[in-house]
Point group: C2
Chain length 256, copies 2
């Protein structure tokens, strides 16, 4: 997830890669669109100069000028509370979209920050709107994407509202693992691009709790942890913990 970024040393005048050739297109925006429509989409997609670690893609309150597809690297999105602290609402891997917040009134309602060197494609809002009126396929695609966003946030509400710390960590690891697999990367061995602090924030836990649970899971032989490098040794046990795997309906801790 992190060392996948080849250093971007080329000049950015014409590094344009068409969506049709992009190896992420099966995950990304144009997924399922026909070739003619896709070429029209190509025409409006803008390549951006890469973001450095901790750069802001946009801030809460910024005018919503485009939606973005992560090409390489990763991005976190977060919202701020009136009294100052912040909640990370998502981590975004290559092929995933950022910026659908801001559809409401034209300004972003959350902040997007790169976790590492990251490059994105930008689809300008005005051009996207025009294109949607002429391409019903794209319009449908938009709905699909936003529906997915809503559905995923529902899952996250469930996690924050109802899960124990153990379940949260297991859910998080499974989520990353699945998304690694979608990208045809190793599902059981990956490098987290975010610090423990961000994982904790995202899951509604204290850093220390994340650290302790990683240690416990390692102790139990479920995962192997080396700093940010994670190896999943027993996917099944993780699934049992979150309740996905039948065979142990009763709630069980680590010493199962």
């Amino acid at each position: 997830m992190t060392d996948v970024n080849k250093p971007q040393l080329v000049t950015f005048e014409r590094l344009k890669v068409s969506c049709g050739q992009c190896n992420l297109n099966e995950l990304c925006f144009p997924h399922g669109m026909n070739p003619e429509d896709m070429s029209q989409l190509d025409a409006v997609v803008e390549q951006r100069k890469p973001l450095q670690k901790n750069d802001h893609l946009y801030r809460e309150g910024d005018a919503s000028r485009a939606i973005y597809a992560v090409r390489s690297g990763s991005v976190k999105t977060l919202v701020e509370s009136p009294n100052g602290d912040e909640q990370i609402v998502g981590f975004h891997l290559p092929g995933e979209l950022v910026g659908v917040d801001g559809f409401m009134d034209g300004s972003h309602t959350c902040t997007a920050i790169s976790l590492e060197t990251t490059s994105v494609c930008a689809i300008p809002m005005n051009k996207l709107e025009n294109l949607c009126t002429t391409l019903p396929g794209l319009q449908h695609q938009m709905r699909r994407i936003m529906g997915k966003e809503v559905t995923e946030e529902h899952k996250m509400l469930l996690m924050l509202g109802k899960m124990s710390a153990e379940e949260k960590i297991a859910t998080f690891l499974l989520s990353i693992s699945r998304r690694m697999e979608e990208r045809h990367w190793k599902a059981t061995e990956f490098v987290l691009s975010m610090p423990r602090q961000d994982i904790a924030n995202y899951l509604g836990l204290a850093v220390e709790t994340v650290s302790r649970l990683f240690a416990q899971y390692q102790e139990a032989g479920i995962i192997k942890v080396d700093r940010r490098r994670i190896g999943i040794l027993d996917l099944h046990r993780l699934k049992v913990i979150v309740g996905e795997s039948e065979g142990a309906k009763e709630k069980k801790g680590l010493k199962g």
Copy 2:
């Protein structure tokens, strides 16, 4: 919120009310649309026979045939976890939309249940899609609505992830109060349509905690509680608790 429902004793053959005449239209779907577009929307909106308390509007997994606007009454939406328990993800008042989950793959990803006798307008998905291709205004409206959905869920993530029980309850009361005001109902005196159990579930708390905090806030003279009837006596104090009101940036409990 509950006793606003006049008993629906008419027959439902032709109780059709056009969106233009609906007193909720400033809150609902057609908000901001021009009259011609609205009449076209009118043509596809279906009135439904009212739901009784605890009726399902739709269930997780159901084909997504329409999106719904609450006309009177109220609806809760919830998602289920693999291990059985459920998380309420939203309460929906008159003028609010339900059913945008299910845009992803055509089937609903959460369940919608009426909290009381409730009537809804249904906009069939297929007709909505057609209409969107011909009315750019409607299309824009759709985006606005989904953007709002995303933004509101972000706020809820913040609540579940970062707030104390006190803050959650205060946030909940303020949210209801604001929405009452939007509807030109009394913002400081209302009847909750949901049981304590549902409030607790929604906020990620135990019923007992909700009960105790209501009692504490009453004790402190912030609210008046009579079963489900709530009176807000000190809106300002509530805002201070959630950190909205400047003047007391330092965190403070009830005995401020």
